[in-house]
């Protein structure tokens, strides 16, 4: 290695240099302390042999300077001193020397000392190299963590304003959580909620969550049921992620028009339907392996469906909550949750469960992400805002973005004339007379079908008999006044395609009809609900029957559109034409 020899005595320099060279080292020399510092900077020797008593700058000072210049790059310095006193030794070590040798130099000892320093220097070099590597790695990891946290925040934040019926808490075990809670409404107004818990936590878990969020919002907005959404999520995770990276999840769909919840639970603790005094009425255990494990053909998207008899809440959590252990290793457990439910009012459940968890943990570390969701299942069809994905689009025709949901029981159906009310609503919402006229034709047809055939069980074919029409009206009035059960839901909303479209959904609690059996020809006398539907088909872009035939959804474009022009038409509407 390269050795810097510093001595003001030329003979000493020559002697030491000669020895060092014979031991296989290269040598640079200096005659005083200042020169030594200069040579150090220029030559970067691997070891320095430093005389103490020198003119211009002594060995102590030169040693201190070199140490300062070297910073974290350690260079071994051996002091060569004629002064054998302890005091000098201490001063030498204090100035930063690593060892010393008294003059006259014993070259056998010097050779060994150089060897020792060489060994130490090698180890030191490896250490600082791996230390620098570690530091580098740490910096990069930190950078990636910040990026991932940012992305997660943005993605999870998309679409929230969470639904007012959904509340949740997520506590990450590390910097950010691999648990996800999201909610969104389908175009039909059904509420979809997901709680997902990916393997592990932190960045690795979050990576799994990102593709799920996209699937959840995208498919919900398009109106896919959760059975289809879970299937797609499973497929996507299986395709993207390594096998051991799966996602336990609960997906829930709430239909407020029928008071039903549908649940898919794969690998999460049981979701609980709890009434308002905190009693568990129904438990939805994990019926499936988590998402991302099974191939498509083996995947089972069967849902558990439950119609709630009284208002209540659906409670969902990740296993991080139930498995959270205190210092004695006792898990928080299901009892930790159900105790709180029984002891506090519903609006305190979320916070009180979290408080109870903190109490339970005490000083014990939280080793897994914890998430908890409550979902209100009320006997109402609340008015909601339009789905957020539409919020940023340019409105081509200023119809606003609104949703109107009406839920009529048998009393309202008997007593309220609902059609004028709806017409008035649409007028105030800005539809012009042309569209109002069409709207009225459509809604009257759909509503009367729901009432006459769905609830009252009237058959249009009566009309074609002698005195048919009168008979029909008579029967209708009779049955309507005797109506003592049944419901009709009407949802109106503006959906944006390339132009605004009025979406009308009418659902009744009747038996429906086999719409598939009639194929495409719905506008003849064989259909129990008459010919009016032909007109609706003419006016609307799309007419869909759903369910058991007791639900119809139509799309009425708020622009001039002929039957030949498809939804992709960009022709702007001419509102002055009537």
């Amino acid at each position: 290695m390269k050795i810097l020899i510093v001595d003001d005595n030329r003979l000493n320099v020559v002697t030491t240099s000669t020895y060092c060279r014979t031991w296989g080292h290269t040598v640079v020399t200096a005659m005083d302390g200042r020169q030594a510092v200069e040579r150090y900077v220029a030559e970067r020797p691997a070891l320095i042999l430093m005389d103490v008593m020198m003119p211009v700058m002594n060995g102590f000072e030169a040693t201190a300077r070199i140490r300062e210049l070297a910073g974290t790059n350690w260079v071994p310095i051996i002091l060569l001193t004629a002064l054998g006193s302890e005091e000098n030794l201490v001063q030498g070590i204090a100035s930063g020397a690593d060892d010393y040798l008294t003059k006259p130099v014993n070259f056998t000892i010097l050779r060994e000392k150089i060897r020792v320093m060489e060994r130490i220097a090698t180890i030191q070099g490896q250490l600082s190299e791996s230390l620098a590597g570690l530091q580098d790695y740490r910096d990069k990891a930190e950078e990636e963590r910040i990026l991932a946290a940012h992305v997660m925040d943005r993605i999870v934040g998309f679409g929230q304003g969470n639904d007012e019926l959904v509340s949740h808490r997520i506590i990450p075990a590390l910097n950010f959580s691999g648990d996800l809670v999201a909610s969104a409404r389908t175009p039909a107004g059904d509420l979809h909620v997901i709680l997902a818990d990916a393997t592990g936590h932190g960045l690795a878990a979050a990576l799994n969550i990102i593709p799920m969020i996209e699937v959840f919002y995208g498919m919900t907005e398009k109106g896919f049921p959760i059975s289809r959404i879970t299937t797609e999520m499973n497929r996507k995770i299986r395709r993207l992620m390594p096998r051991e990276r799966f996602v336990a999840a609960v997906l829930v769909s709430v239909d407020f028009s029928s008071n039903t919840v549908s649940v898919w639970n794969g690998g999460c603790p049981a979701a609980l339907f709890v009434n308002e005094v905190g009693e568990v009425l129904r438990s939805f255990s994990s019926m499936h392996p988590p998402l991302g494990i099974l191939v498509d053909t083996a995947f089972n998207a069967t849902l558990e469906v439950y119609q709630w008899p009284v208002s209540g809440q659906l409670i969902m959590c990740s296993d991080g909550l139930l498995e959270a252990e205190d210092l004695q290793g006792t898990p928080f457990g299901l009892a930790g949750v159900t105790n709180v439910l029984l002891e506090s009012p519903p609006n305190r459940w979320l916070d009180n469960i979290m408080d109870a968890l903190h109490c339970h943990l005490g000083n014990a570390p939280q080793i897994d992400d914890v998430s908890l969701v409550t979902l209100e299942c009320r006997d109402t069809c609340p008015v909601m805002t339009e789905s957020p994905a539409y919020a940023n689009q340019t409105v081509l025709y200023d119809t606003g973005q609104w949703y109107l949901g009406l839920r009529l029981g048998h009393k309202e159906i008997r007593n309220i004339d609902v059609l004028p009310f709806l017409l008035d609503w649409c007028r105030q919402a800005g539809l012009d007379e042309h569209h109002l006229g069409n709207f009225f034709v459509i809604i009257a047809e759909l509503y009367n079908n729901a009432l006459d055939h769905g609830l009252l069980g009237l058959d249009s074919r009566i009309k074609s008999g002698p005195d048919g029409f009168e008979q029909y009206i008579h029967q209708r009035a009779e049955r309507l006044s005797a109506l003592d059960s049944g419901r009709i839901n009407i949802d109106l909303s503006i959906v944006k395609d390339r132009f605004p479209v009025l979406r009308i959904r009418v659902l009744d609690s009747g038996a429906g009809f086999n719409y598939l059996g009639y194929g495409g020809s719905l506008d003849n006398d064989s259909v129990p609900f008459g010919r009016g539907i032909a007109l609706v088909r003419h006016l609307c872009q799309k007419v869909e029957f759903r369910g058991r035939g007791n639900e119809v959804v139509v799309y009425y474009p708020l622009m001039e559109i002929s039957k030949e022009v498809t939804a992709s038409s960009e022709t702007s509407s001419d509102e002055s034409v009537h």
Partner: protein
């Protein structure tokens, strides 16, 4: 304490007896163990004995899935045996009885 793994090979059957906490820290040793067993041609079945496992987390479930994926194409029969208590519950919540033979 890290998980202990004892391998007991008897003819065409091998038993992996695990003891302690089955979590991420056990991943390398677990993988090394089953790869060593699967590398032997005569092996026809592997039992993973969980009787002495007192804790199992989701990364452990992941390791079992990896083992399943490795074993399946070789035709080796896999069973998770003697799980109990909390470990049994975790396997049930994850519906692993639909993926593995549980005995």
């Amino acid at each position: 304490m890290p998980m202990q793994i004892a391998i007991n090979e008897a003819g065409q059957n091998a038993t992996l007896r695990l003891e302690g906490r089955f979590d991420f820290n056990a991943s390398r040793e677990f993988r090394d163990s089953y790869e060593r067993i699967l590398s032997r041609r005569e092996i026809e079945s592997i039992d993973v004995d969980l009787s002495a496992v007192n804790y199992l987390d989701s990364s452990a479930l992941g390791m079992l899935l990896l083992l399943r994926e490795k074993a399946e194409p070789t035709g080796v029969k896999l069973a998770l045996v003697n799980s109990r208590g909390a470990v049994r519950q975790i396997l049930e919540v994850a519906n692993f009885h639909k993926l593995f033979v549980l005995r």
